[in-house]
């Protein structure tokens, strides 16, 4: 029981990061139909800036705020300067543009911080929470809590505010929304800002234990993409679920079977599930009348 609880605790931390990046990718995709492979870089920007500022002697709270702000700004600037004028491009070409931006961001970070791993102290300290012999640190608890809260808030936002409705409308059908008077460009801008916010926050919470280097973005993005894809790129709630499920399943395989087998086995199971349930019946997707 202790082992199971401990496994779930540590998996939830991974799952939170998968989910936060995944939800960010979902937000970008909803508003622009682009798979944003630069999403992980918001994590990197926020983490690196925060760590550097602390190194220069700024207080933790200020560094944290600046880090998150930088991630939001970076994401919005990316949307404004790189994507907006190219929205009519072929999606596959735009994916490569996002990869290019990711490489460029890594290159800049490489110049600024070199190959060293940076880190900073926990946001919250204090005794770990004990439950039946298993422990979870307060920082981890905060990360999981923030992930859940952020997703729930997003869902409430989409369900019950006018702006949220407008964003959902854009996600469903950009052209029709535009004809109905929704400012699609602004919705996209806001979505990218929110995605940056999520990436930035996740860095603050995870960097203290895993550290940060210039090249953490792309691997994170790929994990997040897996979560997002199983949410069909549209639903934040399902991205959260998929991220958590992915991580917990990995953790359980790792603890009970063989740590090295976790990724192969989990992806195998997910694949079967995906075929049996998710990928079905949307071939023609009602486009018959065109």
């Amino acid at each position: 029981m202790t082992l199971l609880l401990q496994t779930i605790f540590s998996s939830l931390v991974n799952g939170s990061v998968y989910a936060l990046i995944g939800v960010g990718i979902v937000l970008c995709y909803r508003s622009s139909r682009i798979v944003n492979l630069a999403q992980g870089e918001t994590y990197m920007v926020s983490g690196v800036l925060c760590a550097k500022m602390i190194e220069w002697g700024s207080p933790l709270w200020l560094s944290a705020v600046c880090g998150v702000a930088a991630a939001v700004v970076a994401s919005m600037v990316f949307e404004r300067l790189v994507l907006r004028s190219r929205m009519h491009w072929n999606p596959s070409r735009l994916i490569i543009v996002t990869v290019g931006v990711a490489i460029l961001a890594e290159g800049v970070a490489d110049r600024l911080i070199g190959a060293d791993q940076l880190s900073f102290a926990n946001l919250v300290n204090g005794a770990p929470l004990q439950l039946d012999g298993a422990a979870i640190s307060q920082q981890d608890l905060l990360l999981v809590g923030v992930t859940l809260a952020a997703t729930v808030l997003l869902i409430l936002f989409f369900r019950s505010t006018l702006l949220g409705h407008a964003m959902t409308a854009v996600a469903e059908n950009p052209r029709v929304s535009q004809l109905l008077g929704v400012n699609v460009g602004r919705m996209r801008q806001i979505s990218y800002g929110l995605a940056g916010l999520l990436g930035g926050i996740s860095a603050l919470l995870l960097v203290p234990q895993s550290g940060i280097g210039y090249n953490v973005g792309l691997p994170l993005t790929l994990n997040g993409f897996a979560a997002a894809a199983f949410a069909n790129m549209i639903s934040p709630a399902r991205a959260l679920g998929a991220g958590m499920f992915l991580a917990v399943a990995e953790g359980i395989v790792g603890s009970y079977l063989n740590p090295a087998l976790e990724t192969p086995l989990v992806f195998g199971v997910l694949l079967v599930l995906g075929v049996a349930y998710l990928g079905r019946g949307q071939r023609f997707a009602g486009a018959v009348r065109a």
């Binding site: 543009v97 990869v99 490489i103 290159g107 199983f230 192969p264």
Partner: protein, 596 residues
Amino acid sequence: MVALALVVVAVMSPAFGLPRLTLNLATTICLFGIACAGVNLLLGFGGMLSLGSALYLGTSAYAVALSTTLWHWPMLPAMLAAIAVSLLIAVFLGLVLVRLSSHYFAVANLGLATAFAGLITAYPATTGGTSGLTTLRELKLGFTTIDTNLSWYVVALVAVAISLAVFHWAVAGRRGRILKLVRADELVASVLGVRTFGTRLSIFVISCFFPALAGALLFPFQGLITPDTVGAIESVQLVALVIIGGVGYSYGSFLGALIILWLEALVDTSGDYSLLVYGVVFLLCAFYFNGGIGGTLARGWRRLAARLGLPPQRSAAGCTPGTDVGVDSGAVAGEPAEAVAPARQLTGAALEVRGAKRSFGGVAAVNDVSLTLAPAQITALIGSNGAGKSTLVNLISGVETVDSGSILLGGRDITGLRAAERTRLGIARTFQVPRLVEELTVLDNVMLGREAGEASLWRRSARREREHRAIARRRLEAASLGHLAERRVESLGTGERKFVELVRALDEEPAVCLLDEPAVGLSLEEIDHLHGWIHRLRRAGTAVLVIDHNLDFVRKLADAVYVMDLGRIVRSGCPDELLGTREARAAVLDSSKGQS
């Protein structure tokens, strides 16, 4: 194509004198270009983005590595076996994977590649774990041994030639057209008779040949294979190389590999700035080369050719338009009637719908509808918007399935058959809004009507293709569309598209032809033209079903009329009876609007 291959080889040659382009790098570029060709084929012709193609590179490389180090197989048989094993794996995975829709397909492949890399690290005793497996950098061929850089480069060039040949074989002529059709519009593909699942599976397995070939060569060439080479990041890079090089151009993957790998080697000299420089150039390539470098080159070449007055080059189709004209120009003049071939013979009622029902949620779009189409007869179906006319056509053509009821073609129950099978038995249809492959020419689109329903994707003869081309051209000319034959569909207007789609349906030589609002959007003159066409279809013995709103058009055209409202047939009879007098029309209009 040969010339192109030569150009590629020449440019990639280390002898060309690019700085830092060593023999070793050139060989690596060739191998990665080969691996990328698989991604290129799958994305460019299959429309499937795989983020996991490094998997097949990995299975092949590790199969070679394990069979030579563990079981001490000689290298060459080990390589051949490895390619075979990888293809087998591709078949099994493909059976599952190609059913997935786009995002799931991408991520499932990504997951498999990650999983494979994980599996390799999980058993370090056998696979060498993260440090990988090593071997001597040599390949014994019997008459000679490949062990110098130069000889490896030659081997790589041979492999490039093989993969270019396979690539061109896979997308030549009819196959390329069908692949483009499936990619552009899977629904239309199945309506035209393509077995889409088999087609997607075939293209998937063929695309896996390329990384398998590259992987088999990579291990002895590098003398080393590590899990890093076969994982997710590598897969993403392969995709990037292809998109930069030019998706859909056989040489695109090689160009991409050349530019990016050479660039990587070049910026390595700039020390700390290497990643930054790489990022900038990568982004510039993505920004400024539309359709990749290959696409930019192709456009430039077309412009140059146009300026020099050379004939436009046909893409991968194998025969030039000039020869076609020669073949059929003699036949056209005398016999315009041949433009519509006699319909396949069916006995009794050509098509019978019995008590068909179909609901969407709580709405019964088609509710207990029965109707009969006779050979050599034009039947019209009229009714207000939302009456269920198009749904009925969808049910007959197999795009949607009935909830209950049955559909018989020439007495045979076809209720359980898919759209493709029904088409092969002789049902053709058009759509309200014409659905054609935009990037193909009008002639190619028309040819697809006949080709899509033919037996195997892999049987292809140049002679039959010439014949088809000649027939299709004759049909187009009989429809006074001959001047459009070489135009790409994307440049056509609505009326022209409608007629092209009609000619495509005729090219299937159907026994039953379903026309969904053929006259909408046509000018009066075009409607007259259409009228003549449908009559010719009837003379050929085809059972025609026409949906339309235009009562005058229907009255002049049809032999029998059904009126539909809210999913039911509310009236039927001969057109003069139903539409002949003002009062009768009013009654029809009333009955079809009664409850809405």
